[in-house]
């Protein structure tokens, strides 16, 4: 049996008639960085709060850091995980050190001072321990919140929109910190709607829009959602594209684009040489032949658009 940091089975949360998320199932391995994507109101934060025992699930089960999710197990689960909420939630009149001392007390940590020093070093704030939190920039506050989340050496670290509201420089710093945690093997559950963030940092991602739409590695999701294709750029359009492209057995379909053609293929490696030969034989001037690249953003938008269309029908 594979040991997972998180195992979620058919988990749902309703607030009266309103469904926050429904029938959500996934697993997260130890040491994995798992991206949880979705538009605003998709249920991402509610899922994190449910797994963090802040709110009770309406149905379904979960095992968090090896402990079954239940109200009774709340304190035990919360001692083994950390959640960094979207807002840092620091005591602004207290210093960085006083904030962390308070939370070290709440976790009843041994070697309180050593843990705080290590957490501050991990977020490059060792020299700011005496600063009042209210005097720190938004980016620095986010780093203090991350240090606070690292204090108890969590089995699972939930980061809820960690770069929300940060400028590009501060966002990059947070990304670097998450990257270093990933290298250290920390299990991270990252909720975000920043797709480049997820693509860059996560081993696997899940896309949630009240229900879970897809789970997998970003490249797997692209393959699941988009058929493989080749983009062909020519100096001039073909005189008879049907005769050239339609005659190739490797090409399953094609459409003209402003700069050339997009061909649907099952095996780009086999199709590209055959296509090149056929185009040369037809007298075409080839500028480029390349496999189409779909970003995680394309995957995301495709799924969300499907949902919007389904709702409007």
């Amino acid at each position: 049996m594979v040991d997972h940091a998180l195992t979620v089975e058919r988990l749902s949360k309703r607030f009266g008639e309103r469904v926050a998320f429904d029938d959500v199932s996934f697993e997260v391995g130890y040491g994995e960085v798992f991206g949880f994507l979705g538009p605003n109101g998709a249920g991402k934060t509610t899922t994190v709060r449910t797994l963090g025992t802040l709110i009770a699930a309406s149905s379904g089960t979960a095992i968090v850091a090896g402990i079954p999710l239940s109200e009774k197990n709340g304190p035990a689960i919360r001692s083994r995980i950390s959640i960094m909420p979207e807002s840092p939630g620091l005591y602004l009149r207290l210093t960085v050190m006083e904030n962390l001392q308070c939370f070290a007390g709440l976790y009843r940590l041994d070697d309180c001072r050593g843990r705080i020093d290590r957490a501050l070093r991990a977020v490059n704030l060792a020299d700011r321990a005496g600063d009042q939190c209210g005097a720190l920039s938004k980016g620095l506050r986010q780093r203090v919140a991350l240090a606070r989340a690292l204090l108890n050496d969590p089995a699972v670290l939930f980061l809820d929109e960690p770069t929300s509201g940060l400028d590009p420089v501060a966002s990059r710093e947070v990304h670097e910190l998450i990257g270093s945690l990933r290298e250290r093997g920390v299990t991270i559950f990252l909720t975000t709607h920043r797709l480049e963030e997820a693509e860059r940092l996560c081993h696997r991602v899940a896309i949630l829009n009240t229900t879970l739409r897809l789970v997998g590695r970003p490249d797997e999701l692209r393959e699941q959602l988009f058929r493989r294709s080749l983009d062909v750029r020519l100096r001039a359009p073909l005189d008879d594209p049907k005769a050239v492209l339609g005659a190739l057995p490797e090409v399953e379909g094609w459409e003209q684009t402003p700069s050339g053609y997009t061909l649907t293929v099952s095996a780009p490696d086999l199709a590209a040489p055959a296509l090149a030969r056929a185009l040369v034989a037809a007298g075409a001037d080839i500028l480029s032949i390349a496999e189409s690249h779909h970003s995680l953003e394309d995957v995301y938008l495709e799924l969300i658009d499907e949902d919007v269309e389904a709702k409007s029908r």
């Binding site: 607030f15 802040l54 001692s79 959640i83 909420p85 620091l90 009149r93 007390g105 009843r108 606070r148």
Partner: protein, 242 residues
Amino acid sequence: MSFSWIRAGAILLKELQDYRRNRFVIGTMAAAPALFITLPMIQLFAANAIGRNVSVHIGLSLLYMLVIPVTVPSAVSAYSVVGEREQGTLEPVLITPIRREEFLIGKALAAFVPTLVIAYTVFGVFLAAAALFAHPVIVSAIYAGTHVLVQLLFTPLLAGWAIWVGIAVSARSTDVRAAQQLSVLGSVPPLILLALISLNVITVSTALALALAAALMAIDLLAWRAVAAMFDRERLVTGIRG
């Protein structure tokens, strides 16, 4: 996991550190003793000057001082939950393994300790001033009957009541100002009984004073359990109950 005084203490220490840097809290806590030492002194010296209705003046003086444990903790306890929620600091605390009883005791102690220090200090100053400047008849009237016992016993119990009312209101409110107003209103009822005792409308024996104190202590303990029961993480985090 059993009740942890370390976790309750972490909340208490954080609150005291926060008060120390909050001019509003310091100002409010300092203003109350200044006010409630002035009014009893006026009563004391009025009794000196007039020489009649001594017991009414002493009763009023001591009643003013019993207002301290009701008013001083009201504002801070009313802020304790809804204030943290407004600042966005409540969720990070609730994410930790802290139990609601630990959180509530930490918050309550943070209001209780300064209140007790202020109330007993003011009472001590009052007794010292009376001993130094008041007519011996007045001094002996202060120590006669159950006045001192009532002060010593009811100060922490009234503070306890005011704190639990404040925290209960705070845990159910969405607005700090409304919470503070409701908290002050909710703290007043026990004072009515004490006003009747202090003004000698009801004459209490030592036994009755102790019985009333025991009753108020029982009410305080029940209030704590009630507040703990109504402390709902889900509602506090989401604003709604699923």
